[in-house]
Symmetry: C2
Subunit: 521 residues, 2 copies
């Protein structure tokens, strides 16, 4: 069954195509590793995303592997792989998605005069031939083929119709018309869909799709305008991440359709209480903060500060709330955990937070929970989320932080003494540095030398108050690749050391993997 069987332009069902793992990952600095991609894909699949674009298989061995692994693991979702209009790309995408229960190849080519002339240096007729050949090739590999007219919104409608006709003839089942540069306004974007649906033969046999970028702040409005004009697939990302100003945000599209069903009578398959969890996971694996006032998933989205609004909300919630917090997964009440909480309560709480751990991982997490409960008065949900996420990362560690002592302050130079466990062997070194964090990292490098460049160092207090756990994010870059790791601890410096070591562990896993790649070629 192809996704095209599930809806058509006269149906009221809109399919959600999530491209967090492809267009989202193209955000400068947002790269995710395989484990992280699998975690994100699992949540997307569970929450009811119809199509997960898992990556761009020809781009790298890592991308290929991610698409193939997600294809193997996906339960319900169609898994799509991206391919340029190049035979090798399409073949590679086909190899990657073939493991999926429901595979899709998504191939694209530029259609606008500015791209044809300056980037591709091809004529309109040449591009038409390319469309016919590449869509046909994809259709020989899978039943479900999506074709995208890159920069559609800056393409003449006549030529766009010819391209779409060629793609449908060659077997495309979904036609995507992206606003690649985020240039369209809603009226224009809707008019384009109306025009092509009217003029292209067999337009009623395919699903039309929106793909909007947010350069002028109009991505959500444009996507919805596309749906009102007959599109029945929306391409979007969690938190709206993506190239430049990002893509249309999945959570905004879905909640707008749900909240304003009276004027936009369309439904999606998304279980909206997953939205907050998906948002937090994507923010965590990319280390991209979510703006406090981000619609739907920002920490202030359901918070009221002014006396007038608070008064109204207390009198009648609907005076200022058009959505219920629980509908997007914002917990209104919370079971507070403390040092007297036992294994049973802890397992309940984990399950409430959406985590299921194996027995060993559970025991480790419980032990660390008790450590924190001894040191903190209240253990909040965020503390527990932080430590469990930490636990997941630790599963693959070969270097571990055993002990750390830091002497810092205005006297300088700052000094750190660290003991690491490297493959079972304990080593201790002392180093100075420009600040306590720099000294700590220098001590680690004295034991495990590396040339990686520290491109991000960030500290968040995971919960409020002076006894907050600190969550530290560290990103290391080496040979064009980057890894991000997070760690949490009440002591910022311990969290920093652990995050740095965790990033090094990830880098070493990568190195091992790319050596294997080289051998495989």
């Amino acid at each position: 069954m192809t996704a095209a069987n599930e809806t058509n332009s006269s149906s009221d069902r809109v399919v959600i195509f999530d491209t967090t793992l492809r267009d989202g990952e193209q955000s400068p600095g947002a790269s995710m590793n395989l484990e992280e991609k699998l975690q994100v894909a699992e949540v997307l699949d569970e929450m009811g995303v119809d199509i997960i674009e898992a990556g761009f298989p020809i781009a790298s061995e890592g991308d290929f592997e991610a698409v193939a692994e997600i294809a193997k693991h996906a339960d319900k979702a169609v898994i799509a792989g991206l391919a340029r209009a190049i035979p090798a790309d399409i073949a590679r995408a086909g190899e990657a998605v073939k493991f999926a229960g429901r595979p899709r190849i998504h191939t694209f080519v530029s259609t606008s005069p500015i791209h044809l002339q300056h980037q591709m240096r091809k004529s309109e007729e040449e591009v038409l031939d390319i469309i016919t050949a590449t869509v046909g090739q994809a259709r020989n590999l899978v039943e479900d083929v999506e074709w995208s007219a890159m920069d559609a919104t800056r393409t003449s409608i006549d030529y766009l119709c010819r391209c779409i006709e060629a793609a449908i003839k060659a077997g495309a089942t979904t036609i995507n018309l992206p606003d690649t540069v985020g240039y369209a306004v809603p009226e224009e974007y809707a008019a384009m869909f109306r025009a092509v649906r009217e003029r292209v033969p067999n337009a009623d046999k395919v699903i039309f799709s929106t793909h909007c970028h947010n350069d002028l702040g109009l991505a959500v409005a444009n996507s919805l305008a596309g749906v009102m004009a007959g599109a029945r697939q929306v391409e979007c990302t969690i938190n709206g991440i993506g190239e430049r100003a990002g893509n249309a945000a999945l959570e905004e599209i879905v909640m707008a359709l749900k909240t304003r069903h009276d004027v936009m009578p369309y439904t999606t398959n998304i279980e909206t209480p997953y939205l907050m969890r998906a948002s937090k996971l994507v923010s965590s694996v990319t280390a991209f903060p979510v703006q406090y006032n981000k619609a739907i998933v920002g920490k202030n989205a359901f918070a009221h500060e002014s006396g007038i609004h608070q008064d109204g909300v207390l009198k009648h919630a609907q005076t200022y709330e058009i959505m219920r917090p629980e509908d997007v997964g914002v917990r209104s009440s919370s079971l507070v955990m403390g040092k007297h909480s036992g294994r049973h309560a802890f397992r309940e709480k984990l399950s409430e937070l959406g985590f299921e751990l194996g027995d060993n991982a559970f025991e480790d997490a419980f032990r660390r929970f008790k450590d924190i409960a001894d040191r903190k008065k209240h253990v909040f949900d965020e503390d527990i989320e932080a430590l469990v996420e930490d636990e997941i990362v630790m599963a693959t560690e070969t270097i571990k932080v055993m002990a750390l002592t830091v002497i810092a302050g205005t006297g300088g130079p700052q000094k750190a003494i660290i003991t690491l466990d490297v493959d079972g062997r304990h080593e201790t070194r002392e180093a100075t540095g420009n600040g306590p964090v720099d000294a700590t990292f220098n001590a680690i490098k004295a034991i495990v030398p590396n040339d990686a460049n520290l491109s991000l160092y960030q500290v968040h207090a995971v919960t409020e108050g002076t006894d907050a756990q600190a969550e530290v994010s560290v990103r290391l870059e080496e040979g064009g690749r980057s890894v991000t790791a997070r760690s949490s601890d009440p002591d910022t410096l311990v969290a920093s050391a652990k995050a740095y070591v965790s990033a090094m562990n990830k880098l070493m896993t990568r190195r091992a993997r790319s050596k294997a790649d080289v051998l495989a070629v």
Copy 2:
């Protein structure tokens, strides 16, 4: 001259009404002090904002003072003060804005049945009488009166027309129709403006205004739809901050109108190269991060990651860029400063970054720049911005950090020894804590006891690399008030101590001020 004289529905000039200091400041956690509000107002005025809503004078003495001070300092902009439909509010707003060259009173009342019934508990006729009385009162105080129909988008069009008619009759010169709960879609919002402009007598004598919230991600699209339907004032905020999911973002509205002038032939008075500076300032004084993929002002908004896009941009910028970075104040090249840079180069750089310092402040900043240049290889613009902002805060400090030594790590308990200068007297204390930051703050509290609650603790690496300066934000809350302070230093713990002390200085200034308030009553 009232703002209404500058444009009308048949003109193509759209006036920009910035409410960062009023609706923006209502964001949970975004409160700004007087100094910070004056800084923001100065940038808004310089960049060409037509109307600055400076606050809600009756809300507190601090709000009154901020509106009055901004009114005294503003150069070109109209200064508006907000007032409920209550005689005391309007009188107070009038007192605050009277210092402005061009004062405006902005008064509002709810018009939707849900607000009338559940919040106000008044009949439609009672509300009409209130509108006539309060707008009339305001018009007796100032020539330029704006009236807002709170929750206009959930009000019946018949009753809305009667309210607007009453407001115009009573002397309102601007009529604002807010989408208070962020519920509207563009078509509806435009239809409302078309209907009231057609039906209300003398509608052509006033300016209609949009005010959109972003709960469903549609604030910018709704504002633009309002303009296309005849509105000629747009209410918006820098970075889109505001209650819940925030307001329409000023920078997105302005750049959408500029970039798509072909389909939206309207102009604003905004000098767009100020946009990035305004965004950074507001983010800095509120400690609200800007999402990396935020349209226009996010750090990724003009960044290209994928090979395909980079290739296109190198061949021809317009293939993927619809705006030029320099048009929104993003510097494409940068003069890198180092330890050999002298006073002249430093002053040039400060002026390039938009700072003008007096002689003493300049010497202090230069000395600190040299300190940093000695310790860091490259001093980036962000380093200099951080230290100058620090300098501005330090001007009012009565407590200073003189020395700090911290011993931290896995051994615990963490220990801090701090020396503070309190009004010229040096005191040293030692304290332990749960982590080095907690120990440091405990040591400070041992010298200067306080009951303030730490509601935010955040660390950013201001620049990349291990020799980055850390910027720490600390928010303290006391008796319902909150202050935020930032400080930067290569040593995170020193930056933390300085930020905490700076927040305490601000709190003490507040306390002194509110004691004066009590005496004045």
